[in-house]
């Protein structure tokens, strides 16, 4: 009979098969972080190209000062939920400022982006309702849908025909249907066709929630995200987002013009039963919102960097995600080559994300880069030079080794070199 922990032993077996001794890209320790683009990892100074720190605000002086002052004024934590311990003035003010930023009537703040989705989605939809979600949705959305008890229907990623077919089949039930999509998808960096999705939502009388985790601060004239960029903010019922990317902190939020959003806080378990965001977090996020509003040039720089990296990698012949965005994903032929490439880049002082399925969609293995407004053009060139250096070793059609020389010494199993 299976023991309680046997399921974890299979994880160990998988890890052993995938990762040679001494290499664990999923458990990297940052010894020291110098700036939003440079750190020391494993005793090596590296250029960070996989942080989601889109606007580079983790080291913004105004945000740091605001956080420092908040700690001195209000302490390090709230030690409980807002229901039990009370709402700090900063929580209230941040919600008002977020609502103002989005031009919405209501906002609610959560302690992380993940629990924002868990809480909002599982509270909005329940048994008897239907959720129609994009196939490439984030794990927090899948978990939230499961928790909700609603009927869960998946449509093919960004496939409007499949979405419409599914809404059509629902008939009158579409009035109790919540469509969930993301502005920019986290792994491939591709964008939702939100104008068309919003049109379908209206046509079938459904509801629409957009997760702007990777698009807030990145898209739209004011940085509000894909709904703003697509000109459909009035048709989106709920926008959720995170503080942990463009805003450089941790936490999440939901904004809406539906007055019922304020009632969510009384019944949403991940709001009621979680310690509220710390004073430092709240203060730095409030400041980051001001920085975003006052500095649209940050987005200009971000997109210039994204364009430089995307076009540069494309010219080198790498197979990339379909859309130009600050998330630049390189599709790799095999898991083994992905790992070799990740290690070779790391050895050249470049840190990117290694993504294996099921975290990557459609069974793909990816090297995932995310660029920041804080990257200099020269840093982007350094990243490109590193990719150019490892590229010949990854092409099976070329003679020679199947991995960069320094990586070959790491003792990868034979099956990972194919």
């Amino acid at each position: 009979m299976m023991g309680l922990l046997d399921k974890l032993h299979s994880v160990a077996d998988t890890r052993k098969a995938l990762l040679p001794p001494g290499i664990d890209p999923f458990n990297v320790v940052i010894d020291e972080i110098y700036t939003s683009t440079e750190a020391s990892l494993g005793g090596r100074r590296v250029l960070l190209a996989g942080t989601n720190n889109y606007l580079g605000l983790t080291f913004d002086q105004q945000c740091i000062d605001a956080a420092r002052e908040a700690i001195l004024r209000e302490g390090t934590g709230t030690t409980g939920s807002r229901m039990a311990n009370g709402t700090y003035a900063g929580h209230r003010d941040l919600e008002q400022e977020l609502a103002h930023f989005y031009g919405c009537s209501s906002a609610i703040v959560f302690s992380t982006g993940f629990v924002t989705n868990l809480g909002i989605i599982s509270t909005l939809a329940g048994p008897g309702d239907v959720i129609v979600l994009d196939a490439d949705s984030h794990a927090s959305i899948y978990d939230a849908c499961k928790m909700s008890g609603a009927e869960m229907i998946r449509f093919r990623h960004n496939n409007l025909g499949d979405l419409e077919k599914k809404l059509q089949r629902l008939g009158e039930r579409s009035a109790k249907t919540l469509i969930i999509v993301e502005g920019i998808y986290s792994m491939l960096g591709d964008c939702a066709p939100l104008a068309e999705i919003a049109a379908l939502k209206k046509k079938y009388g459904a509801w629409l929630l957009v997760d702007e985790a990777h698009s807030m601060g990145v898209l739209g004239d004011r940085g509000r995200g894909m709904a703003e960029a697509a000109g459909v903010e009035q048709d989106v019922d709920f926008i959720v987002g995170t503080f942990s990317k463009s805003l450089g902190a941790i936490g999440g939020f939901c904004v809406s013009n539906h007055p019922e959003l304020d009632l969510v806080r009384y019944v949403c378990r991940s709001y009621v039963f979680t310690a509220s965001p710390s004073p430092a977090t709240i203060a730095s996020v409030r400041e980051a919102l001001r920085v975003i509003e006052a500095n649209p040039q940050l987005r200009t720089k971000l997109w210039a960097n994204a364009t430089q990296l995307y076009q540069g990698l494309k010219q080198l012949g790498f197979e990339l995600g379909p859309d130009l965005s600050p998330i630049v994903a390189i599709r790799m032929p095999t898991r083994g080559k992905t790992l070799l490439a990740w290690k070779a880049l790391f050895d050249r002082g470049i840190y990117v994300n290694l993504v294996f399925p099921p975290a990557a969609p459609a069974g793909m293995s990816l090297l995932r880069c995310s660029v920041s407004a804080a990257h200099s053009s020269e840093q982007i060139n350094t990243i490109l030079r590193a990719f150019a250096a490892i590229q010949p070793h990854l092409n099976p059609s070329e003679s020679g080794v199947s991995a960069p020389s320094e990586t070959a010494k790491s003792g990868l199993p034979r099956e990972m070199r194919s």
Binding site: M152, I153, R154, R169, P357, P358
Partner: protein, 85 residues
Amino acid sequence: MMTTPQYDAIFQQVVVLLQEYAPQPVPVHEETELIDDLGFDSLRVMELLHEVEDVFDITYPLNALSDLRTVKDFVLQIQHIVENR
């Protein structure tokens, strides 16, 4: 249990799809298990579901996956959805 002509027709189509999508090429029977026998993982199951939805012109709710173990379970689920659409 007696099967119906509709069940048999769906079963035949499902067998063809499973043989196409199953990671492990083993003979498919009613009691064959999708994970333990055919080696399906979560990603492969999703690909299979998309195909099933197209072939039978149905929507398969993900909630039904928790009750899915054998090929027979799968065929009965599809039959139920087809008959209630």
